[in-house]
């Protein structure tokens, strides 16, 4: 474990302190998970397995010739007047976006006091991944998140708690407190009125904005088209009203053809929010064309590597790049249902975050994440592109062990355990020792409340006391009749 390791355990414990919050989170995620299952089965019936396999194959195929599909995308997109930029690292991505904003600033009409450059943003994991807002704000730009949840996150200076629903952990009263304290809005307990408060404030931001920044859900290589999925309409506002649109998109988002995009789109919203499609599926193929009434004069796409080629080069972890960021694995996860998204430390939370955050942000720093799982497999079942997350978590653990990062006592215990399991005689000796030592510690109901070498485990659970006679003893005594 390195000195700078992220303290996941403390963050998780803090998040679990409120029973009310845990119940709310649990209720919402269970409901979302059931809705996904219902939609999958009503819309695809027994074919759902085949659809998921097909989707996984499409993503794998896109990744297998990623550079060629990107080249095709670039040719189409630039052919209609869009501009593509290449960010190898997060630093580079931030620098490119800031530079594009500066250029937009220089194009503004000369007035006495133009004020700071105004940027409106669509909810985007890629821009969160590169911590874009921080850099733009430090450079004196006015940045406004326009997705309702992200707007609340920004006003409250919080962290998003979920890939799809960023304020899943907040009550309506907390939102109203924030709006009244920071934005001078009248208090209300009505979610509709709260939403309308945000609508009125954000409309003014859209009208005045110089630059719109978005992410992207897909890049269609066939024609060079950027696809953005949103429900609120802010994505369309940001790609319609400001004179400049900048999209930051991870390279793994490429889909070869439109027909293949259909398969992925069909699964994305159904898996994430149990919708057939998100309300708006926006397909941007370039800037405003001659004769058009509205639309940005400039459209820029910043392609982000940011560690993705390192994952792509791995024969073990490359399947993590299939992820559509639908959030289904979060809703299905018993750990996420208890702690929510914030304790994961990275931008990506839940099961997929336990894989992606160590891979993109450092395996040593986020060493606890792969271990915060019972490997129950619910995430694998919920994943529309069949990412075998439990397997990837095991691989990450094996890597930690191979690097010698697991505690000595743990390694010693596991070595002993492995030896015992490999020999019937040693196993029986181990069993006797356990019986002799812990048998007397059991309570009257037959439970051991505390195991000294596994206190973390028995803090919240009891261990069953050993039976009076082991199966082997019983077998010997009854000559296999067992009674």
């Amino acid at each position: 474990m390195s000195d700078a390791a992220y303290d996941f355990k403390a963050a998780a414990a803090a998040a679990m302190a409120s029973a009310h919050r845990r119940q709310t989170l649990g209720k919402i995620s269970v409901k979302a998970d059931k809705a996904r299952q219902a939609t999958w089965s009503s819309d695809f019936g027994p074919r759902i397995g085949a659809v998921r396999t097909l989707a996984a194959r499409i993503k794998d195929r896109a990744l297998a010739r990623l550079d060629e599909h990107l080249e095709r995308f670039i040719a189409g997109f630039e052919g209609r007047g869009g501009q593509v930029h290449y960010a190898g690292s997060r630093d580079e991505a931030r620098a490119i976006v800031l530079d594009l904003c500066r250029q937009a600033e220089a194009r503004r009409p000369v007035t006495a006091d133009p004020g700071p450059l105004r940027v409106v943003k669509v909810k985007s994991m890629a821009t969160e991944e590169i911590h874009l807002n921080h850099v733009l704000e430090a450079a004196g730009l006015q940045v406004t998140e326009t997705d309702l949840g992200e707007f609340v996150v920004q006003v409250g200076q919080r962290r998003p708690a979920h890939i799809v629903t960023p304020i899943i952990d907040m009550t309506r009263h907390e939102v109203s407190d924030l709006f009244s304290q920071r934005l001078n809005q009248p208090r209300t307990a009505d979610p509709t009125e709260l939403t309308m408060q945000a609508r009125r404030l954000l409309r003014e931001h859209f009208r005045a904005a110089d630059v719109g920044i978005s992410g992207g859900n897909f890049l269609v290589a066939e024609t060079g088209t950027l696809v953005i999925c949103t429900n609120e309409g802010n994505g369309r506002m940001c790609t319609t009203v400001p004179g400049t649109h900048i999209a930051v998109v991870g390279v793994e988002k490429v889909v070869p053809t439109w027909a293949e995009l259909a398969v992925l789109l069909k699964l994305l919203a159904r898996s994430g929010t149990a919708q057939g499609l998100t309300v708006y599926t926006t397909m941007v193929s370039g800037p405003r064309q001659p004769g058009e009434v509205d639309g940005p004069e400039q459209v820029h796409l910043v392609l982000l590597d940011g560690g993705r080629t390192r994952v792509l080069a791995s024969e073990t972890y490359d399947e993590a790049l299939r992820c559509l960021r639908c959030g289904a694995c979060l809703n299905a996860c018993p750990v996420f249902r208890q702690i929510g998204g914030q304790p994961y430390g990275g931008i990506y939370s839940g099961p997929i975050g336990k894989v992606v955050t160590p891979l993109l942000d450092g395996e040593q720093t986020y060493c606890d994440l792969p271990n915060a799982s019972s490997l129950c497999g619910a995430c694998y079942e919920a994943c529309p592109v069949q990412i075998n997350i439990p397997h990837l978590l095991l691989e990450l653990r094996a890597d930690q062990n191979a690097r010698g990062e697991t505690p000595l006592a743990y390694r010693a215990a596991m070595t002993l355990w492995a030896k015992a399991l490999l020999s019937p005689r040693k196993y029986e000796v181990g069993q006797r020792v356990f019986e002799w030592f812990f048998g007397p510690k059991a309570d009257r109901q037959g439970w051991i409340n505390e195991l000294p070498m596994a206190r973390g485990w028995t803090d919240v659970r009891d261990f069953p006391a050993p039976a009076e006679k082991s199966f082997r003893q019983l077998w010997r005594e009854t000559e296999g009749r067992l009674s």
């Binding site: 919402i28 409901k31 819309d43 019936g45 097909l54 194959r57 499409i58 195929r61 990623l66 550079d67 990107l70 189409g76 593509v84 290449y86 190898g88 326009t146 949840g149 629903t165 960023p166 309506r172 939102v175 509709t192 709260l194 939403t195 309308m196 609508r199 409309r203 024609t223 429900n231 609120e232 309409g233 802010n234 369309r236 319609t240 390279v251 439109w258 027909a259 293949e260 259909a262 398969v263 789109l265 069909k266 919708q275 057939g276 309300v279 708006y280 926006t282 397909m283 193929s285 800037p287 405003r288 064309q289 004769g291 058009e292 009434v293 509205d294 639309g295 590597d305 390192r310 024969e315």
Partner: protein
């Protein structure tokens, strides 16, 4: 990074992966939504039902009844300031005349137009999608992006014969549909603007229209 460096790094990283051919049309069929409707009346029925299910208001009319249907919706909304896309069948002079009755302002879109003050915009969808009740709209000189976005109500007209069964058909057909020139912005719209960010409570009309009327024009 230059484009060559950037793509070169990706090429080196993906060397171990084996290529896989594109899925065939037969393989893609697995993703078709159940149940599958094919004949036209059933398709239109299904589309209207899905439009309703996602929270938009379906209306059925004929070419002859279109102007009256639209005027009826505008009356109900008490709309005063209306933007009209000048595409057939909406470009017919009788439509504009019928809608302007009673002193209502009805005008075509102009360059640099800002519809933040308008009550309603009426536009034409290129297609409807029976699977999800979606509308396929795209930007053009007659129909800006704003038409289905900025005013609080959007009325979208779709011809019955332009209704497509499934997203597979719609997207696979796009390259042929736009062979003459790809629109800068195309959008699939599936319902009114919505959010459930606050305690998972559904609220419509967040940034886009809170009300969407879909007028299906049956062939006479």
């Amino acid at each position: 990074m230059t484009r060559t460096e950037f793509l070169g790094r990706i090429r080196a990283a993906r060397q171990h992966r084996s290529d896989d051919p594109a899925p065939t049309a037969a393989e893609l069929e697995a993703a078709r939504r159940l149940p599958v409707e094919t004949d036209c009346p059933a398709l239109v029925e299904r589309f209207a039902a899905q439009v309703q299910a996602v929270g938009m208001k379906p209306h059925r009319t004929t070419a002859a009844g279109l102007a009256d249907t639209l005027a009826g919706i505008l009356d109900q909304l008490n709309a005063r300031d209306v933007r009209l896309s000048t595409q057939p069948p909406l470009d017919d002079a009788t439509v504009a005349a019928r809608l302007s009755a009673g002193g209502r302002t009805v005008r075509a879109w102009q360059r640099g137009d800002d519809a933040f003050g308008a009550d309603v915009a009426i536009s034409l969808a290129a297609a409807g999608l029976a699977e999800t009740g979606s509308l396929v709209v795209h930007s053009s000189p007659q129909t800006p992006r704003q038409a289905t976005l900025v005013p609080p109500t959007a009325i979208v007209v779709v011809r019955a014969e332009a209704i497509i069964p499934d997203l597979l058909d719609a997207l696979a057909g796009l390259p042929a549909r736009f062979a003459a020139g790809w629109p800068a912005n195309a959008t699939l719209i599936t319902g009114p603007s919505k959010t459930s960010d606050i305690e998972k409570t559904l609220v419509t009309g967040v940034h886009g229209p809170g009300r969407m009327d879909v007028v299906i024009v049956d062939a006479a």
